[in-house]
Subunit: 108 residues, 2 copies
DNA sequence: TGATCATATCATAAAAATATAAATTGAAAA
DNA sequence: TTTTCAATTTATATTTTTATGATATGATCA
């Protein structure tokens, strides 16, 4: 068997058993509005009203997107008085965004 | 304004205008069968029959998944005799898989 | 040139994702 | 303790995704 690269070998062996989890995680990021939300949160934690203003996503839709991100462990929140402050909870999310930035924005 | 990190700044500024493209790209990867296909292709190019054997994905479904990956530029193929040989065409795909591996497989 | 093999396309049904409007929760201020 | 406000939940319609079976393409071999 031809070994191309140790990382690729490990990846192709180890990832298939986790394909369901990994795909569910990716799917939770794979929406334009959720990427906008995560870009805002990458700058720092935000409450829901601020996220609505900054992204232009409608309130009900925002709740549903945040709920989906929370279910997948991508974000978490804490209660501050009567507002909820959301923040990125999964380091892989920022790493994925960094790859997207490198390939979709930094092409010069 | 508090500057946390130069990369995060660039990312949060530059990614939102590309959110639709970036989300479409992520969506093309965000399926368990397509991740299996890409893990196989990460080891090297494969024809469709081999991909079907290695992944257990049904032929019609395989064609549709490959077509979706091709539409998004993730894979490409060439014709060899009467078989089609597919290969990964977008480096970002392997980078995303590497992030997934690090977070879903290499957690010890 | 007719049969065969690899793969794709078409048609369809079922499941999941998304957006929107209306109703609800629950903490805090009056 | 009633009102208010931030956010969520529910209900519903639309669109998208996925799987499957049947048919079609198109290159090659006999």
């Amino acid at each position: 068997m031809k070994c191309k690269d140790a990382l690729v070998m490990e990846l192709t062996d180890a990832l298939p058993p986790r394909a369901d989890e990994a795909a569910a995680f990716l799917k939770s990021l794979a929406n334009p509005h959720r990427l906008l939300i995560l870009c805002a949160l990458a700058q720092g934690e935000r409450n829901v009203s601020t996220l609505i203003e900054e992204t232009g996503v409608a309130p009900t839709s925002m709740s549903q997107h945040l709920s989906k991100l929370k279910d997948e462990g991508v974000v978490d929140f804490r209660r501050d008085h009567r507002t909820l402050t959301y923040f990125i909870a999964h380091p892989a999310a920022v790493e994925i965004m960094t790859v997207l930035y490198a390939h979709f924005c930094a092409k010069d």
